[in-house]
């Protein structure tokens, strides 16, 4: 089965934190205030952050 994971374009991320609030797995953090980091082990690829991101810089990618 193909697994999907959310990936952030860190160059265009505004670090607003909208993604943190909607992540049902609490897999997202913005440790340095510059861009958000998604813990790939926790991410289940639900795509909520993708929908929420106001800058539309999160995408779902197929993982191995």
């Amino acid at each position: 089965m193909i697994k999907r994971k959310a990936v952030v374009n860190i160059w265009e991320c505004v670090a607003c934190g909208c993604c943190i609030k909607v992540c049902p797995r609490s897999a997202i953090s913005i440790p340095n205030g510059i861009y958000s980091k998604i813990n790939q082990d926790l991410c289940v690829g639900c795509g909520r952050c993708v929908k929420e991101c106001p800058a539309s810089v999160i995408t779902l990618r197929e993982a191995e």
Binding site: G17, G33, C53, P54, A55, S56
Partner: protein, 203 residues
């Protein structure tokens, strides 16, 4: 899967109250300085965007109105609006307008200009706002700053509302000058501190 709400998830009530208070007594506008100093303080001292990420009541207000109340088309923001050119450009423009407002306040403080009881929307439209002015105990400049600052807050709310409707609920966050500035501070802090840490870990 419903996430448990924290106390700071209700700060949108304060943001809304702030906007309403400005219709009754303009001097309440001074409270808005909190939205300027708290994010800066967190960014400078803690080196993160904790304000945006957790406490920003305005962001919550947009998330509610655009999300729960469905006032947003939920479309992608145009690419140019999320570009650094636009974000930094807007920050500079916003600051220029802010300093112009401070200069006007200073002129009223100095007595070279009379108090204007108007709220300037979108840096252009002067709305009569005298009904929210009931005198001030100190200099007229105190009231002038209140009118100027409330203009800034109302203008950014209106802009945020427009982009909330057109794009995603919290589109304002993409070009919010405070957000851009705190991210810049975090970038500078990270650039200044992280190489040293790397150096240290290498021994």
């Amino acid at each position: 899967m419903k996430m448990k709400k924290k106390w700071y998830d209700y700060l949108w009530i304060l943001s809304l109250t702030y906007l309403i208070l400005g219709f009754f007594n303009i001097l309440f506008a001074w409270l808005g300085l909190l939205c300027f100093f708290i994010p800066l303080f967190i960014a400078i001292v803690k080196g993160n965007k904790g304000y945006c990420n957790k406490y920003c009541g305005r962001g919550q207000l947009f998330a509610l109105a655009g999300g729960r109340f469905g006032l947003s088309r939920k479309k992608d923001i145009p690419k140019w609006m999320r570009s650094n050119y636009f974000r930094y450009g807007f920050l500079i423009f916003f600051f220029a307008m802010f300093f112009l407002m401070l200069w006007n306040t200073w002129l009223v403080f100095a007595g070279t200009k009379d108090l204007g009881t108007v709220v300037t929307l979108l840096w252009t439209f002067k709305l009569p706002w005298h009904w929210a002015y009931h005198g001030t105990l100190f200099s007229d400049g105190v009231a002038q700053f209140a009118f100027g600052f409330y203009s800034v807050m109302l203008t950014s709310t209106v802009l945020g509302f427009l982009t909330m409707i057109l794009f995603k609920p919290r589109s304002w966050c993409v070009y919010c000058p405070m957000g851009t500035m705190t991210q810049l501070i975090c970038k500078a802090r990270n650039a200044a501190f992280s190489p040293k840490q790397e150096f240290r870990s290498k021994g």
